[in-house]
């Protein structure tokens, strides 16, 4: 039971870490898109928009939670069966999981649900956000066995 609670807490933290990173990255890509049109966006406006956009978390938290339930299960399984660094596997799982989720949603909705992920680079950065989540989960759930 204690272990289960620990895993659950780690999942919550990893989802938060990934969702915040994803939101921040998306906002920067949206701002870049406007700047490429010649629109001036000073630093204070950028910061204000980045903070304001964290309201996207209400959508991202649920999506990332479902994504990570699947992705981290696969990552842990792979690290046990194939071997290698557990943290690396979980980062990979988080990253690929987020990208796959966004592509699935894009296929279902026929548009990209996160504006900052419309470009290839933007999508990759969403994967990086997922990898951050994987790293957080790995560190929070590592045991003496997994460190060895």
């Amino acid at each position: 039971m204690k272990n289960l609670m620990r895993i659950l807490a780690a999942l919550i933290v990893s989802v938060l870490v990934a969702a915040i990173a994803a939101s921040v990255f998306s906002t920067q890509f949206v701002i870049t898109g406007l700047q490429e049109l010649g629109v001036s966006i000073p630093l204070d406006v950028r910061l204000k928009m980045t903070v304001s956009d964290l309201s996207i978390l209400q959508t991202l938290l649920i999506v990332f939670a479902v994504c990570f339930l699947v992705a981290f299960s696969v990552g842990v399984f792979a690290s046990r069966k194939i071997g290698g660094d557990r943290t690396m596997w979980l980062c990979l799982a988080g990253g690929i999981g987020v990208i796959a989720t966004l592509l699935l949603l894009q296929s279902a909705l026929q548009v990209m649900p996160i504006a900052g992920a419309r470009s290839s680079f933007g999508l990759i950065m969403q994967g990086v956000a997922g990898a951050f989540g994987g790293y957080a989960f790995a560190r929070l759930t590592e045991t003496s066995q997994s460190i060895q």
């Binding site: 906002t27 406007l34 406006v45 996207i56 026929q110 649900p113």
Partner: protein, 374 residues
């Protein structure tokens, strides 16, 4: 004088009912009647009146229908409609009769053309005779092509000089292109009856711009009209909030996506700005969104109190709105015909001033609203 109580009671009732009748006799209450002329239309998008009283109706799935007028309307499928890309918001959109239709039998159609990986808004002309299209000419295809089945725009208007305006949506995932002059996405374009860019288009001399572009900075324009005095009005969907009515003049920038009152569907910002130098503010903003579809400038003898006003139908709000204009300025924005609680796609006025509305969806209808004393 002795006054009988029953008489007083009866007189009081009559006074009250007279007062109630006055309240109900204002437009938008009960001084009109609603008739369902046609039923079982499959996602109807646009209505045009033929000279003989019949109706031309487009359906999003690619059918162009001639529906006979009268007590038992018959639906006749027009043959020869080109291949339409039907997916999500894509399909057959607007139908417009040429101003000289009775002489040349020419109509204009807009639709989604292409396939999933590459599609675009297209405008064609064709001759309509004996329920068949012939002599089809492609007048315009938006560029670049896109891979989303959303945001085509698609409304057509013919100006007094015979040239055609067409709304082209931003394709949803391509919103920044609404500000770029090398893209038709998010624009209103103008072509002549042969599909050429007129020499007086605002960017026609700019070698880096597409010559058909007439105005920029639009999202998904669902209505376009020109008044008898030549004023062009348009309405368009914002994202979550930010639906607009704009007065369109050539060469103007209407701001999308740099300025909007709306936010993204997931709660994130589209932009930090609601105003920016060189970009125009809308005549009307609806936040929260109502999802306006079609719009008319009312001119008719039936609802004379609405002369010169804009009537707008909507999808999400399921409403008919009257924009009361006084010398071009908005005096009032109110819902009318409150019993119409359904998604609506098109609104037109016939020569008598009666109002025709196409309802949206798989079981669409053509409604006619007219004065009770007609």
């Amino acid at each position: 004088m002795k006054v009988s109580f029953p008489l007083v009671f009866i007189l009081s009732c009559l006074l009250c009912s007279a007062s109630q009748a006055d309240q109900n006799s204002t437009p938008g209450q009960q001084s009109y009647k609603t008739e369902t002329l046609i039923e079982s239309l499959n996602s109807p998008w646009s209505l045009a009146f033929l000279p003989n009283g019949d109706y031309l109706i487009t359906e999003l799935n690619g059918e162009l229908l001639r529906v006979t007028h009268g007590a038992s309307p018959r639906k006749i499928k027009i043959a020869g409609v080109p291949d339409i890309y039907v997916a999500a918001q894509g399909g057959l959109f607007d139908v417009l009769l040429d101003r000289n239709f009775e002489d040349n039998q020419r109509i204009y159609l807009s639709y989604a053309h292409g396939k999933k990986s590459a599609n675009a808004t297209r405008l064609i002309s064709a001759e309509l005779m004996n329920d068949e299209l012939s002599n089809i000419k492609v007048l315009f295809t938006a560029s670049p092509w896109k891979s989303t089945p959303q945001h085509y725009g698609g409304r057509i208007v013919q100006l007094g000089d015979g040239t055609l305006l067409l709304t082209v949506g931003d394709g949803f995932d391509y919103r920044e292109q609404a500000q770029k002059l090398d893209s038709h996405l998010g624009k209103i374009v103008r072509v002549d009856e042969s599909g050429n860019a007129p020499s007086n288009n605002p960017w026609v001399s700019d070698k880096d711009a597409l010559p058909e572009i007439w105005s920029i900075g639009h999202r998904n324009e669902q209505a376009l009209l020109v008044t008898p005095s030549g004023v062009v009005y348009e309405n368009e969907h914002g994202p979550r909030g930010g639906d607009e009515i704009n007065i369109i003049q050539p060469g103007n920038n209407y701001g999308w996506p740099v300025i909007t009152q709306g936010i993204d569907y997931n709660g994130a910002s589209i932009t930090p700005y609601t105003e920016y130098e060189g970009m125009l503010q809308p005549l009307v903003d609806w936040t929260p969104s109502i999802a306006p579809s079609a719009m008319v400038f009312y001119q008719g003898d039936m609802f004379t109190e609405w002369q010169g006003d804009l009537l707008v139908v909507s999808l999400a709000e399921k409403s008919v709105r009257r924009i009361d204009l006084d010398d071009g300025k908005v005096v009032k924005d109110e819902r009318i015909f409150p019993q119409l609680d359904t998604r609506m796609r098109d609104i037109r006025i016939d020569r008598q001033g009666a109002i025709y509305i196409l309802t949206d969806g798989a079981d669409g209808k053509l409604l006619r609203l007219s004065r009770n004393q007609e």
